[in-house]
Amino acid sequence: MSIFADAQIWNSTLSMAVPLALPAIGGTFSERTGVVNVAMEGIMLMGAFFGVAFSYWTGSAWIGLLMALIIGGLTSAAFAWGAIRVSADQVVLGMAINIFAAGLTAFLLDTVFGFSGTPPTTPKLPNVSLPGIDKIPYVGQIFTNQSILVYVMIAIVILSHWFLFHTRLGLRMRSVGENPLAADTVGINVWRLRYAGVIIGGLLSALGGAYLSIGVLNSFSVNMTNGRGYIALAAMIFGKWTPLGSFGAALLFGFSTALGIVLQGNGVSSNLLQMIPYALTIIALTGLVGRSIPPAADGLPYDPKR
């Protein structure tokens, strides 16, 4: 098909995968340590809003990015406290964060920036074409004029895989999500690692949110994540709770979105194409093809004092 011959579709697939892959990997960190995380959507919104807000206030998109990470981290820390220290219902807590973040960002957008929204002069993060690679035909086009965060994401995918599966800390994090009691008896601090997992998840989700507001655009709009946090959840499950799998699923989902845009002119409904990620997730969960099985202690609070 001619569509696939056009590198543009791969270019946009990659770009659309970023705000899915980052929170999906973030969710992977959280759930691998045993905390069910549906708060990605809300934390993305926080990252998106505060990224653009601080970018405007300070005139530096980089400071905006830093603040997005800090505030995303703090939000996820609040979530982590409730989920780990209080043993509150993790799904309910995640919903609370999502509703709160949607409200707060919409509220602040209006009260701080007024009706017209964030000013068009707000700086955004630079787009980069990889020198050297951009000369290669076809492949070069894919990496032409992408946001710097696209490359950051690729680095994060690799780093996350290395961290979770090849470092001592990664091994410990996984053990905590599988059998916290066993980990505790060999001297591993379960709570500390769970906090770390959730907060890393928050940082990556916030990064994904900031990509939308100051990576692609330089503005924020109400509910700008538009459910990407939930698709990221789907990508995490479909990717079997691994960074590489999450990235692969994000690419697949990003591709179905990119394809939807291309095909819209041809009379194929984008609505139907957009169902693909969700349908695949259900299929993966129910085990029709290669069943996705969550970490054994995912969602179960752990009380070290019993």
Partner: protein, 358 residues
């Protein structure tokens, strides 16, 4: 009475705490919190039209909330009421404009029944069966099906078979005699049909009756509280898991039907209503008690309309009410920290007095 107080004390304290934090937030933005909350309250209850709007807004929240409450009472989490709502809405609208020769009352009942059935199927079959037989988390399956449902409804009117000829992505209007009557001009302004109100109250009573007064509800609750004891008592746990999710979807479907017949009259874009999510808050706040859902739904309906009026009067964005909602759930979810804090405080005090004594 004491039990009742301790049951609802938590949600009330959580709400007050959220209101205080919301107040601090609006103060920080340079508004007077008292006038902001004043305009919120008067916007929700201040005059007949706003009271009408409040009730109208609360109807879908109550109906979805009832469904979620039934699931919670059965030990299940239906997070996908939104999709069930929209799929059912689409089905009732289709029935509403497709058949034209039925008598009005029969046609209305037909629409409602189809909506409920479709909602029940959407919410119950796949999540219920996969939960019962392979143990897939119903949180994820209902959530994913919810998005599929919303996309399906959107597809139906964006190039799909239900799109009205013309450029707008919307369905044809349902025939006049399926639209729930408004009775008078004031109610019409608020789009408040007393029939819808009656259906809602009836639904709450039915849900309450079902849960507490029937053998089905008894078994649902037994399965929800303690699956092993339910199995010991001879109950069919898998069957009741499916029934619980079907019933949950049925009420969400009823919400979609009633909203179409009573307010919207056609399927049109605006699928990000988030009734499903707000209804979770409604149910949690009501401690999953159907009659409590009625009150909590009214409270959130008031927040919605009050918020809109507040935006007009004091210029404070209506999104403030979402902030309050998020905070309320957060505090309700974290409620169990309270006994821990009390215990910690007591221990510290006894430690201190011990030190003082020695």
């Amino acid at each position: 009475m004491k039990a009742l107080r301790s049951t609802f004390l938590g949600p009330i304290v959580a709400t007050l705490l959220a209101i205080v934090i919301g107040g601090i937030l609006v103060s920080a933005m340079g508004y007077n919190p008292f006038s902001v909350y004043g305009s919120l309250i008067s916007g929700a209850f201040g005059n007949i039209p706003s009271l009408g709007n409040t009730i109208t807004a609360s109807i879908p929240l109550v109906l979805c909330g009832l469904g979620i409450a039934i699931a919670f009472q059965s030990g299940l989490f239906n997070i996908g009421a939104d999709g069930q709502y929209w799929v059912a809405a689409a089905a009732s609208v289709w029935v509403g404009y497709h058949f034209t020769s039925l008598p009005g009352w029969l046609h209305i009942i037909f629409c409602l029944v189809v909506g409920m059935l479709v909602g029940a199927i959407w919410g119950g079959i796949i999540p219920g069966l996969t939960k019962a037989y392979v143990g897939s988390s119903e949180v994820i399956t209902t959530m994913m099906l919810s998005y599929i449902g919303i996309l399906l409804a959107r597809y139906l009117i964006e190039g799909g078979p239900m799109q009205e000829p013309g450029s707008n992505p919307q369905s044809p209007e349902i025939v006049q005699n399926t639209q729930l009557p408004y009775f008078n001009q004031t109610l019409m302004q608020s789009q408040l049909s007393l029939v819808a109100v009656a259906i809602t109250i009836l639904a709450a009573v039915v849900a309450w009756f079902l849960l507490y007064k029937t053998t089905i509800g008894y078994q649902l609750r037994a399965v929800g509280f303690n699956q092993r004891a339910a199995r010991y008592a001879g109950m069919r746990v898998t069957l009741y898991t499916v029934i619980a999710l079907c019933l949950s979807g049925l009420f969400a479907g009823l919400a979609g039907s009633v909203q179409m017949l009573g307010v919207d009259h056609r399927l049109m874009d605006g699928f990000s209503s988030n009734y499903g999510y707000t209804a979770i808050v409604v149910s949690l706040l009501a401690r999953n008690n159907p009659l409590g859902v009625l009150l909590a739904g009214l409270f959130f309906g008031a927040l919605t309309t009050g918020g809109q009026n507040m935006q007009i009067i004091s210029n404070v964005p209506a999104a403030l009410t979402d902030v309050l909602q998020g905070l309320i759930i957060f505090f309700v979810a974290c409620e169990r920290i309270v006994p821990q804090i009390i215990q910690w405080y007591r221990r510290r005090r006894s430690l201190r007095s011990g030190v003082a004594a020695s």
